[in-house]
Subunit: 333 residues, 2 copies
């Protein structure tokens, strides 16, 4: 491996190795996001899709199918499906969160309106459903239907768990699976299924996607509090201000004494936050080893993702997926 | 036929003839709208589903399957699917329309919030998708995926066509198919497909549902202006105040002279409405025969629905479906 390659992120490597497949996915996405009758639809979707997310989820599907030796056409449909589901959830999330920025651009709900975001999201869900139906594979439909339900359920759970100190690590995992891991694991699993991989490999692909998603989300939670260094940067504390029960907070609350519990009740449940409260929250999380333990959890999930890959065929794509599992926690190492 | 039966609406007759099937559908709906993890979900869905809509769509699926001789279990899954898709669209519609009342009760977006309505709607879509996947029938998946896309597309189109005098009858039909007819026609079509009916019968079932939905919607449009009697009642003019381009308005606009066009531009496009404008709108629609022509269109679609039924096996349910097609336009006869 040349130095040049070594310096590339796993994401860039995947993009290079899957370039031909991704070109087909992008063409299919462009074709299917159109609407003969309602020009508002491609306007909204183009705004979001062409803003160029990382396209990580479709690449996971392509990589899974390829490393299981798939040579048919349908991994492209499934990759586009996964990206459509992701885009639809982003549109609806921005309505739910009343967001104004996404990928550095104004959100669709801001540029058009909430109505367009809701309905165009529904359109993309329906389109994703058409795309996956074209594969003619009942099992991938089953997997993606279940993932869609898990995603929606996790989002509702997040809504009701938000600002509730009773949220425990079990609920947290449920929310994270809905938010991130369910689509990651479905993306990898359907790649294996469409390739006709044997059961143990399909299971390994699911486990990889699931663990990757969870590791990614915990790392994100930690970084929002400045990571383990706890250096307060520009974006530090967004989750705190939004009173989210993320993993380090949940761990610190579980270990809180009475005075600390009163603090958490005030800043998270009641939302009464003032100067110094973010620093105090970070200090409490560090005192109880909550940051350190959350970091260990993330590394454990990352290791779990890598272990799952060992049950898959030896393949250059498998090596990059391992690097990816490592990469998502590199920011908190 | 006894007088007692004759006095019943076609809807009541369907409910009686399909009572055992509908009990199974309701049990399945109750079972699948639950969520182990997120109690907010059954709260919201129960609020809407137990408000007791007419359950017309699931009955269409059951009737179609039964009159084609189906004896398996999956018409129940498909009927529940169709009701879930319908309920999901209602939840999202109420967010889009900022509605406060539905079926005589406060809407979910009012009782909880828009967020819950968006996400629980997504959950029901995902659940509907799981339900239909359980049938193992690729073709019904294809039909319902296409219907979902048509529904979403029609809703977006309605959003952009609203208050736009350029909306013609072609766009109107597209919107109506999205709003009403696409789910009606999918409901009847999948009933035939799951029963293994022959192609001509499946097509007849589609045509029936499509025509029924369009007839229903045009009748609704007319009634909003007091029907052909043009008697101004309590709910008369809701569409006018919301500046909707419904069929009688579209016809009147197409036949307007310059002065009339200025009137429509003011009240619909600019939304400047004052005392007497509703009466003036009705007078213009009557002067140009727009009400009368819309009424003819509705009757034509109703007749088309009945004609489609003649391509289906002779069956008591077929007779009730014919009565239903007649019933939806009885209010404007």
């Amino acid at each position: 491996m040349s130095l040049d390659i070594a310096a590339k992120t796993p994401h860039d490597q995947l993009a290079e190795m899957l370039a031909a497949d991704m070109a087909a996915v992008n063409a299919l996405i462009r074709d299917r996001m159109a609407s003969e009758h309602a020009p508002r639809i491609p306007e909204v979707t183009a705004h979001l899709i062409e803003a160029g997310g990382k396209r990580l989820r479709p690449m996971l599907t392509l990589a899974a199918a390829r490393l299981c030796g798939y040579a048919g056409p349908y991994h492209v449909h499934l990759a586009a499906t996964v990206e459509f589901i992701h885009t639809a959830t982003l549109l609806h999330d921005d309505v739910v969160d009343e967001s104004t920025q996404r990928r550095g651009r104004p959100t669709a709900n801001l540029l058009w309106d909430n109505k367009s975001s809701v309905l165009v999201g529904d359109y993309l869900f329906a389109r994703s459903f058409q795309l996956m139906t074209e594969t003619g594979n009942m099992r991938v439909l089953d997997i993606l239907a279940n993932a869609s339900a898990t995603i929606a359920e996790g989002e509702v759970l997040q809504l009701t768990a938000a600002q509730d100190l009773a949220t425990d690590e079990g609920i947290y995992l449920q929310v994270v699976r809905g938010k991130t891991a369910a689509l990651f694991s479905a993306a990898t699993e359907v790649g294996g299924v469409i390739a006709g991989a044997e059961e143990a490999q399909v299971r390994a692909l699911f486990d990889y996607g699931d663990a990757l998603g969870i590791a990614f989300q915990i790392a994100d939670d930690l970084l929002d509090y400045g990571g383990t260094s706890a250096v307060i940067g520009k974006n530090t504390g967004d989750d705190f201000r939004e009173r989210k029960l993320t993993l380090p907070v949940i761990k610190a609350v579980a270990r809180a004494n009475a005075a600390e519990r009163a603090f958490w009740t005030r800043v998270i449940e009641k939302g009464q936050q003032g100067d110094g409260d973010l620093e105090q929250a970070i200090a409490l999380m560090q005192r109880h080893g909550a940051m350190e333990d959350a970091r260990s959890d993330a590394l454990m999930w990352s290791a779990k993702a890598c272990a799952a890959l060992e049950r898959l065929p030896n393949h250059p794509l498998r090596d990059v997926l391992a690097e990816l599992a490592d990469f998502v926690v590199s920011r908190i190492r």
